[in-house]
Amino acid sequence: MSDIIIETKNLTKQYGEQKSVANLNIHVKKGRIYGLLGRNGAGKTTTMKMLLNLTQPTSGEVVIFGKNIQGNEKKILPRIGSLIEAPGFYPNLTGTENLSIFARLRGVSKRDAISSALEVVGLPYGDKKLFSQYSLGMKQRLAIALAIMHDPELLILDEPINGLDPIGIAEVRSFIRELCDARGKTILISSHILSEIALLVDDIGIIDHGVLLEEKSLAELEEKNSKYVHFIVSDMAQAARIIEQNFGTKNYTVEDDHSLRLYDVSLPVTALNRAFIENGLEVAEAHTCEDTLEDYFKRVTGGEGIA
């Protein structure tokens, strides 16, 4: 069997004149966490809806578990757990009652499936609290419980950490990682919280205006990310002259009157530091930096719209 669990082939969704998703080709590998990264409105949710057959593509194909989703829904969808946008449950029922309804519809036979799923997300089983009284974080946890309740092979999670507090985010991150590492689940996750994606995923797809700009493993991205030495000195112009004359490189950029980035990381920082001091410069900071996922995202998407 192929190593690719989800593959889209020129997947396109058009609303009137506007293309929400354009010729998207993503590849989610078995047993890995794939992060679909993009701004709000980039096309992440539309893509996920097409993967789950909730929205029909204008053109292109969705292949999951080696089969086209069209015509194979009954075979494919029971093997998927999903969370799309805000959680949708019945407000007049408790969390357990809500899960019980979906367990019946899914034909879940395991007796403790509901309590186990609730335990994973840290919600009580048999609690009397109605869904309408849940906080946003509790709603999100219940939606994750619904996604994992039937022990699916593939999870499609659209912004699963929305509304969670920092501890909740760490917990969810931890059990998503555990689902992948210990139970071999394949996970497609979308988020606009870059730091969380960076901590969680194995592979990344960057989507912007419906177009997939990059698809790489996190390791490849880290290799591609530029490293540099960041100096904050009393006189940037003189520091630049010293670098050029004493060390023979112009591979640096000036940030302002006091700071510069030296991209030639092969030069010894101690020697540079000594040269600056011997020439009467004060060195406030000198440290090696690496581009973050955020920097990379900005570079790939042009940086527009970053908060």
């Binding site: 409105g41 789950l52 909730l54 998927i80 449950f89 007049n92 009652e97 870059l194 908060a307």
Partner: protein, 270 residues
Amino acid sequence: MLSIIKTEFEKLKRLHILLIGLIGMAFPAILSVFTQAVVTEEGKVQNFDFAALFNSSIWNSVTIFMPVIFTLIGGYLINREYTDNTLKSILPVPVTFRRLLFGKLLAIGLLSVVFGFYCYIITVLVGYLSGVPDLSVAVLVKSLWQMVGIAACTYIAVLPIIAFTSKRPGAFMGGVIVSFITGYSGMFIKNVVGRSLYPILAGFTVIGFDTKTFMNTNEPANLMLSSLSLVVMLLLTIMIVMLTNLPQATSKNQKHKKSNIFLRPGQRSR
């Protein structure tokens, strides 16, 4: 399909719309006794016994209450899947929208029969408490069949309205108005063919209800035509559901979030 029907009943728990149904379905009996008490001597039913009370309650149910309540509750139960945003959790099960709709319509049909039975119990209670005479086993048995039967027939009569309005979120309130007009208009149809074919009135013929007191007509309606009318309603409903597709958004939904990448303060300053 059985699992869908079962879950539909589970979803009814603590649902306030059912209270409207329970209150509404108590009115036919109350209205019958009240009308008998306040109407002029000429308008009064001469021998207002339990049989007459049941007849009056059935007539009020069909022409006013049942079409409205069945369409309201049925429409609401379908519409809430849109408003509670639960379709995105049900469809990937997978349960197709058509299958869900069939399951819902069957469950609402069973609920309508339960409402018919409830109306029957209320009629017995109201009659007993207001001192209506001549309660016999024969009357109880016949009235039970008629009340439950008319609930099922009236539901079938309004089924196409419920099915049609389920195609669009929020359209069910329009269906309630149409059902009210349909039910109320039935009172003015006097000729035999009209009474036989008009879906709301067809139920009267099927359950063997004597409309003479209420419509001033002596000629009985045609059972065959009435049965055919209800079968046509069922077929029409099946056709509507088979032609129903889940409404697809014509424009991209706008999320009510900032259209920005969220960065923590620490990240922003870096």
